[in-house]
């Protein structure tokens, strides 16, 4: 197969050294794992910069790296909407307004916060959905990477799947959340430094940013857009048809910038868990902000090379192609790996592949370490074996359960990966469904945090109603040219969106607003069962103000938030 790589001993040596290090970190941390708290919550001991880099590394999974490079080739610079408008405002909001309650409530997970703030049934609903979603996501991303490795590197699907799962299991089983977080920091540096040569070489070849603009212009014009539609972000969002994403500015603003991103960054335990592991309330607030700094720059690492890939694809002499060796169709997921192949000689090639493996592992370890916490505390401890009077014995017991849950999580992920291979469409459908729970969840948590009248019954019904509306909307609409019912329209098609992304945005918008209105409405007619004392620390108006602004102004979270916001605005204007 002409697409396989020519790897030399040095490439394998780099991968091997990396594996030794990730397992070694788990091994060293093993002796600190004396109780459930250390294993599942990292003993709340992480410095802000460690938690912050882990925070962003978990998000920088294989699907993100592969998907966003592909999107760079598909949509150009508009892909940065997933970063500058679709992540940064939500991360700042999480840091400044929500972290004090998540961290201060002493809840060990997002479902547990729901239990403290609302009631058991709301927690149960969220815990079970979250556990299922996490494992599913983990399985799908394992499948995606293993299939790529097979297609491009010629590595056996089963071997790469089992081997990478075994390594992740190894270090998370040994060192728990601490090991996952520490490795995420290491993986963050590997991903950035490993992919960096691609950025330099690809930009060098096309003649820098001006050369890229020039190279893209005729290609973009031939697609029927303005020549600079791929190198600008907001300029052509006045009408959906004039930009490659097919969404108007208000769709981007409300869908991506508000519901989807707030739903993801502010409620997803996978992400929030990293900030909860921080060593102090101030460190917890700083965690998302420190993560936001690299997050803003990641587009230059993965989207820009994707854009260069589009130029290369249209240049027959470059020999670059993302044609899938099996289907013969262009496969945008292949973009990053084909770029590695195109530019990197042995040596840095091994490093680039290690970066891909690292992104895969950081995503998967994130899923597994969030799953085992929710499973142990929110499912096992709540419904199977509640805590007894003997706290010490309990902690030992839950440590054992946490470890077993880690194994369970990895094994079920592997099963999910095989299912994804066999029933790809069904798995995609399930993932679409699960992605619908985040938007209503954000509405409910935000109401709970900032409005003390919000009741448990209202939150529960609000969540279910938001979910139902999302399903209904998905069932009644379809993206243009959809060939399978997985993409929507399985009830009947009453509205057609130009692209799938627009459909996702509007599904989330409907779900979020339905959920919010029903929760507000029902809160007026149902009785608040929690007393004001019980809600202290959980709700804004009932929590004594802690002065977060002591110390030098340079070390305050609010200063950092202003810096992050300023950089995001400057970047937006520069690439308007």
């Amino acid at each position: 197969m002409e697409q396989t790589f020519d790897l030399q001993w040095i490439d394998y040596a780099i991968m091997l050294i990396y594996f030794v290090f990730v397992l070694g970190i788990g091994w060293v941390l093993k002796r600190f794992m004396k109780d459930a708290n250390a294993f599942l919550e990292a003993g709340r001991s992480m410095p802000a910069w460690v938690a912050g880099l882990a925070f962003i590394s978990t998000n920088l999974g294989a699907l993100e790296v592969m998907g966003m490079t592909g999107s760079g080739a598909k949509y150009g610079m508009m892909t940065t909407h997933f970063y500058w408008i679709g992540a940064i405002p939500a991360m700042i909001f999480l840091a400044i307004f929500m972290m004090p309650f998540y961290y201060g409530s002493k809840a060990r997970s997002v479902p547990e916060y729901l239990k403290l703030r609302f009631d058991e049934k709301t927690r149960g609903l969220n815990a079970i959905l979250f556990a299922a979603m996490t494992i599913l996501a983990s399985g799908i991303s394992m499948y995606a990477l293993a299939i790529l490795m097979e297609k491009v590197l010629g590595w056996d699907f089963n071997v790469s799947l089992i081997l990478s799962a075994a390594i992740v299991l190894g270090y998370t089983y040994l060192g728990g959340l601490s090991s996952a977080i520490y490795n995420e920091v290491l993986q963050f540096f590997i991903i950035v430094i490993g992919l960096f040569p691609i950025v330099c070489l690809s930009l060098y070849e096309v003649g820098g940013w001006p050369g890229l603009k020039e190279g893209l212009a005729p290609i973009v014009a031939s697609k029927g857009f303005a020549p600079d539609a791929f190198t600008t972000t907001w300029k052509y969002t006045g009408a959906a048809t004039s930009n490659p994403m097919g969404v108007e500015w208000y769709g981007i603003f409300a869908g991506l910038g508000f519901v989807l991103s707030f739903g993801y960054w502010c409620t997803n335990f996978l992400i929030v868990q990293r900030a909860m592991a921080a060593e102090s309330p101030v460190a917890a607030r700083k965690t998302p902000l420190i993560g936001a700094l690299p997050k803003m720059l990641i587009p230059f690492l993965i989207i820009v090379p994707g854009m260069v890939a589009l130029v290369l694809m249209n240049n027959p002499t470059s020999g670059f192609s993302i044609t899938d060796p099996i289907t013969g169709q262009p496969n945008y997921d292949l973009t990053i790996i084909m770029l590695l192949k195109h530019y990197l000689p042995s040596g840095v090639l091994g490093l680039g592949l290690t970066a891909l493996l690292a992104s895969f592992m950081s995503g998967m370890a994130g899923n597994v370490s969030a799953f085992n916490t929710v499973w142990t505390y929110d499912i096992y401890q709540s419904y199977i074996r509640p805590a007894t009077n003997d706290a010490e014995a309990d902690s030992k017991h839950y440590l054992k359960v946490g470890r077993l849950a880690t194994i369970l999580g990895v094994v079920v992920s592997i099963a999910a990966a095989y299912l994804a291979g066999l029933f790809g469409n069904i798995m995609d459908f399930l993932q679409t469904i699960f992605s619908m729970i985040n938007a209503p969840l954000f509405a409910v948590i935000a109401l709970g945090m900032f409005w003390k009248r919000t009741t448990g019954h209202a939150a529960f019904v609000g969540l279910l109603a938001g979910f139902a509306i999302a399903l209904l909307h998905h069932g009644l609409t379809a993206p243009m040219g959809a060939s399978t019912l997985v993409k929507g329209g399985w009830i009947s098609v009453v509205h057609v969106y130009p692209v799938e992304m627009a459909q996702n945005f509007w599904t989330a918008i409907f779900a979020c607003f339905t959920s919010a209105s029903i929760t507000i409405g029902l809160s007026f007619v149902t009785k608040q069962k929690k007393t004001d004392e019980e809600l202290a620390g959980l709700v804004y108006s009932l929590t004594p103000r802690v002065n977060m602004n002591e110390g030098k102004w340079t070390s305050r979270p609010s200063t950092l938030a202003w810096i992050v916001a300023t950089i995001a605005i400057v970047l937006t204007i520069l690439f308007w």
């Binding site: 060293v28 941390l29 520490y182 920091v185 430094i193 070849e205 990197l344 000689p345 040596g347």
Partner: protein
């Protein structure tokens, strides 16, 4: 507990030196570097990574001194 800067620093020093030496050894292989437009990426990445790794290890030392 373990200071994460130590494994990060060590790993990048190892990677850096490995690539640096490999880059020097292969510096005359123009076929190999045709892909990267005759830029010896191994050498440059090696230099950069060694400096980064050393910086991480130096930071640990500095932090220890301050305590």
């Amino acid at each position: 507990m373990l200071d994460i800067r130590i494994p990060v620093g060590l790993l990048f020093v190892i990677f850096g030196v490995l690539l640096l030496v490999f880059g020097i050894a292969t510096s005359s292989y123009s076929d190999m570097y045709a892909k990267s437009m005759q830029i010896n990426v191994n050498l440059w990445s090696g230099i950069f990574m060694t400096i980064f790794g050393a910086f991480m290890l130096g930071w640990v030392k500095l932090a220890k001194k301050e305590e």
